[in-house]
Point group: none
Chain length 199, copies 4
DNA sequence: TATGAATGAGTATTCATTCAT
DNA sequence: AATGAATGAATACTCATTCAT
């Protein structure tokens, strides 16, 4: 992400980035504290310091706010994984490759663990927009390509399983209050490499 | 029901039980079909064939219905796991022990997969009542006792991880539409035994 | 209407007639005073002396209130016209037949002229429900049957024109503040009999 | 437009006129397509290609736009009727005079039938401004003068009735989808001449 | 003068919960 | 105990209008 050479901001933006970001950030904070049920449009507007009318100038409806939060999360995640899988593809050592991918996965939770989980939960109930679905399958492809590189059979199915396993373990640990990310990384590594070497 | 010769109940109690069960079953069915958003107290009462007033005589509020559904699910699960762990403790073969536990885990999803998932989702947002928390840790203990029996180090932490891994993989697979439970059992076995043999 | 022999009220009614009628009457009064723009569900509830929640127990949405007011108006009108056309069919005198029909038409406006007009206006913008459409065409048929009885050619088209003419004249006169209904009846008779004898 | 050699206007005035006309035309088009409920100030501004701020520099509020559309319609109509009544006054033949007036009335609907009806509908709910009221009574006077010329008694009242009758019939027919204006003209002639010869 | 982002009162509607019968 | 009519706070969303730039 830091090494993307593209322009960060175009000078002219029809959407006022600041207001839009304030709304998204307010929504994120509300999600973190009170979950989906606390996420009301009026409260988002209030916390963002904008009027309810402004909120609806930037988002067609409440779902759109959630959808954009999810899309942003997925985009960030996919960018990180895409980058990680590039590096993972470069090493002939499978264990090292796994570590690279797991680190990417954990980075996703590290920043705002509760938010990440709430968004994933919300994502399950929402109909995914095309863009988000694309990002999700791109993520799976990134992992699968690394697996294929190391001769793992059925890389797509295996990628699916590994992502599910890693996610399940991360979520449970974080939900249980785990904050020792180094230890968690070891457990994740154990789960993933175990799955790969078993059978 | 009245002519069952088993443990006797006073007519009043049995009527209460029947009404109570009707409400819980109605709530379960609504959850399966329409999810949490479709679960309204009026609809539950209607589907249960009781008045909304009666519903509130059996449950103090809406959350209580959900809480009881979750508690029942956990209780069933724990009973099953407790039984499975008894059998798993009897075998000296770790692979076989794992299979017994995984079969118990899958049984939980097999019966009413959608309901199980919806309840787990709901559970994440609800503050767990003491009883449910106890059941969850009892389940973990059941698994841990089997692990200890086979000399696995840190059985509690390992049980936690294995449950999280199995749950993550089951949920994702079922959500993705997987219906080949035999194949899924294999994948679960691979994940669990892999984790145990790794490191 | 007074001579309908059917039971006025069934003893058991799932809809509480009183509340339902209070809502309809409140809506009618608001329409009379402030027109369609003043007709808000909260105001209807307030004026009916019921809570907004009760309003929605009797009517699925705002349109349904308007639709029922229109349907009631049409039903009353059609009953009156059906009765009038029976009597009009019995006389061999066309002028007398016309008078009978015009009297029925004016009775419709006599009671609550402003409401009648507002409802007709609203009807134009609303998609008619099947029942209301049926009542409207039944009214046209009543008139057409009288015309056919007196050998008027193209009775359907003529009925359409006469209804339009009578309605246009009544509405304009009442809107202009006319309250001399006897004089208005003469003008209507002149318009109708003139149309029939011309050409 | 800039190269029209006709009456000169200062640039500022002509710009104002152009903007003003663009707003009115946009409002007219929205009314035609979506009716009164679709007529929002923001949409009018958008379709007129001006900012919402500019719109409010030309019109004090939304009602004023509607009022001006109505006033323009009435003014056009009155001009047409004034002209028609000049010609109708010149002929000694009442039937011919009627035809001239009816043709004027139909021309009003012919151009933009839907708009004409929507504006008449809106007019009923709005308090007429003085100018519009003046135009309406001028129109009535034009008709009355023709009637007086042919010795019709009570020309004012009769003009009122004939206008109401013609309007009622035209509106209903056009609303019902009638597009055969020649046939409609005949029906209007029949209604008007019938009224005049009856009694 | 022109712009359009921002405002916020207002609107329809839902649903957990109460309470008179 | 049982009923279900009634409640009203809360929610998503609209749109006429203002005002800083």
């Amino acid at each position: 992400m830091p090494d993307r050479p593209k322009p960060r901001k175009t000078p002219v933006q029809s959407r006022s980035r600041a207001t839009c970001d304030a709304i998204l950030e307010a929504a994120a904070r509300i999600l973190e504290v009170g979950g989906l049920t606390a996420l009301t449009t009026n409260e988002v507007a209030r916390r963002a310091g904008v009027s309810i009318g402004s909120l609806y100038q930037y988002f067609p409806d409440k779902q759109a706010i959630l959808a954009e939060l999810i899309r942003n999360m997925r985009a960030e995640m996919q960018a990180d994984f895409s980058d990680a899988s590039q590096r993972a593809l470069a090493t002939p050592n499978l264990g090292e490759a796994i570590d690279i991918l797991i680190a990417a996965s954990l980075r996703h939770h590290l920043n705002r663990p509760v938010l990440a989980e709430r968004l994933e939960e919300a994502e399950r109930d929402l109909p995914l927009d095309a863009e988000t679905a694309r990002l999700k399958s791109a993520l799976r492809d990134s992992v699968a390509s690394v697996l294929a590189r190391h001769g793992i059979p059925m890389p797509d199915q295996t990628a699916f399983d590994l992502i599910a396993i890693a996610q399940g373990l991360s979520d449970a640990a974080i939900r249980a209050g785990e904050r020792d990310f180094a230890a968690l990384q070891n457990r994740l590594h154990r789960a993933v490499s175990g799955y790969l070497s078993a059978e």
